[in-house]
């Protein structure tokens, strides 16, 4: 970790002509010059510079949480915290009435029945368009409309890639760690999506949420905010430990700097032990 090399814009990264230039660099004569301030990374002969703070870039297969911003011709525009809005095509969502169903013109006319402006959605990055916009899909029962919860925004670089991004905490709260830095914390659904009525998948009403559940949701949100405030990389393990460490405090105490310090330090220490 300690032998990180930092470069700033217009600094020559290498003059060796055998290297290829990657993201965050540009070529000037023989030199590969940095275009951003960040860390030099090298994979074989490819040299890239990764800025420490930047917008979400995205890769195919990423789980992202987003908000619908626009309903357009056969597609929804989704704010995914990236350089451009993502695109969710009507042909890449599951509609009520079976997976194999063909999309008809009447579906096009009632697109707002499925997703409308302001709805939250969890999806997977399927492909990228020529101009760099992300194409999303929700063709699995894991993905789809989000309800019964609240959004937490953290810097995208803090969310770690892991095998699963859907987790349950304290048996009552579900957390979706979107790789774009949008994290959805909600009440655990009483019904699995497979058992749901087709119309229920796109319903706009929340279930009843008890005070106890609300409290737990708030606590998880505060834990996430605390981790992000201390710039701690977030995955399920560290979040679960932060939650456990916070249990002997009141939820609102988690906003105080000393408590944030104590809780996150304990969580990181315990997570480090597990990882060893």
């Amino acid at each position: 970790m300690s032998e990180q090399t930092f470069v700033t814009p217009a600094e020559v990264v290498t003059s060796d002509p055998s290297f290829m230039r990657g993201h965050g660099t540009y070529q000037e004569g023989k030199d590969i010059v940095s275009a951003v301030a960040g860390v030099v990374e090298q994979v074989n002969k490819l040299v890239t510079v990764r800025p420490l703070r930047t917008r979400y870039g995205g890769e195919i297969g990423d789980v992202v949480v987003g908000r619908i911003t626009e309903v357009a011709q056969k597609r929804w525009k989704v704010d995914v915290n990236a350089r451009q809005d993502g695109v969710l095509l009507l042909s890449s969502v599951n509609l009520p009435g079976g997976v194999q169903r063909r999309k008809s013109e009447s579906d096009e006319l009632q697109m707002r029945k499925f997703f409308t402006e302001g709805d939250m959605v969890v999806a997977e990055a399927q492909a990228f368009f020529q101009d760099g916009a992300m194409s999303l899909h929700t063709r699995s029962l894991k993905y789809g409309k989000l309800r019964n919860g609240t959004l937490v925004v953290v810097p995208p670089s803090l969310v770690l890639r892991s095998r699963s991004h859907f987790h349950t905490i304290a048996n009552s709260v579900e957390v979706i760690l979107g790789l774009n830095g949008y994290i959805w914390v909600c009440k655990r659904a009483t019904k699995a999506p497979e058992e749901m009525d087709p119309d229920e998948l796109y319903a706009n009403v929340n279930e009843d949420i008890s005070n106890q559940e609300r409290e737990t949701i708030a606590r998880v949100c505060n834990c996430l905010q605390a981790l992000s405030k201390r710039l701690i990389p977030i995955d399920y393990t560290v979040l679960a430990f932060a939650y456990e460490a916070s249990l002997d405090r009141e939820t609102k105490e988690l906003l105080e700097p000393e408590v944030i310090e104590a809780v996150t330090t304990e969580a990181v220490a315990r997570a480090a032990m597990v990882n060893e």
Binding site: Y26, R55, R83, Q84, I232
Partner: protein, 278 residues
């Protein structure tokens, strides 16, 4: 940082007051040519600097957490905050460019920034012109073709104006863009130059800038290549003096670059330490 600068400011304003009183006194007795003596026989200026000295320059990266990038800069008593959002989805359809990003600059001046309290409208022509100057400076430096169909917003807020607000804004905007991780060909470093009694001055303050007989020149350069991206002057000067002013201002830009670069390195190191050593 703040306390140190205020102390310096306090000393500077005392000196300034002292000078002004002196020159008034001399003016009354001996019919001196100018009302305020901008460069005294010992070669000192109204705030006690020499002709080729910059004011104290200090900067801080990412003072705001919620923005993609932000920077706060103090050049003497001139204080500017720059905030960058983006690249992000364009706000208006008309601004979408299919091959590159659109850069939007808003230049705002706080009512309390100058000696006289004055509220300026957002559509003030002079502010729009300054915003345009900043936009054109960065259009050629930011690698906009990497982010087609998106928009980069740069908000500049002048909190205190003691001369050289444009140069401070450009320097602050550069830092904020670097902080936001926006790819750029180079830093853009700006500095002003002036001229009194055929002696070139560096980094004019408010008194020097507002005096009628000093021409004031703002230059922005790319330090690596030495290319000039902005050159602005509204008065007439002899070409010999212009050469002298330009060379001095460009030398000032290089000094500014050294300060900006070291503050970027410091903030990177700090961020990296926070993320690794727990």
């Amino acid at each position: 940082m703040t306390t140190v600068t205020t102390a310096v400011g306090g000393v500077a304003s005392f000196l300034l007051f002292f000078r002004a009183v002196c020159s008034l006194f001399i003016g009354a007795t001996s019919f001196a040519m100018s009302r305020v003596e901008l460069l005294n026989p010992e070669g000192l200026r109204v705030d006690g600097r020499r002709a080729n000295e910059l004011r104290k320059l200090s900067c801080k990266l990412s003072p705001l957490q919620h923005a993609d990038g932000s920077a706060y800069i103090e050049q003497g008593n001139t204080k500017v905050l720059a905030v960058v959002y983006g690249p992000r989805e364009t706000r208006h359809r008309a601004q979408v460019m299919h091959d590159r990003a659109y850069i939007n600059v808003e230049y705002l001046v706080a009512p309390f920034s100058a000696g006289e309290r004055k509220k300026r409208s957002k559509n003030d022509k002079r502010l729009l012109e300054l915003a345009l100057a900043v936009k054109q400076t960065f259009d050629s430096v930011v690698m906009t073709t990497l982010h087609p169909r998106s928009q980069i917003d740069i908000y500049l807020q002048v909190l205190q104006d003691d001369g050289g607000a444009l140069q401070a804004s450009i320097n602050a905007a550069t830092l904020a863009l670097v902080d936001a991780g926006v790819p750029m060909v180079d830093y853009v470093c700006a500095c002003t130059g002036g001229c009194v009694d055929s002696q070139a001055l560096l980094d004019l303050n408010h008194i020097e800038e507002s005096s009628a007989e000093t021409p004031d020149l703002t230059v922005a350069i790319l330090p690596r290549s030495g290319k000039v991206t902005l050159l602005q002057m509204t008065s007439r000067v002899h070409s010999d003096q212009f050469e002298q002013m330009l060379n001095l201002a460009m030398e000032g830009c290089r000094q500014v670059h050294a300060v900006l670069d070291s503050s970027v390195r410091d903030s990177m190191q700090q961020l990296a330490d926070q993320m690794t050593h727990r």
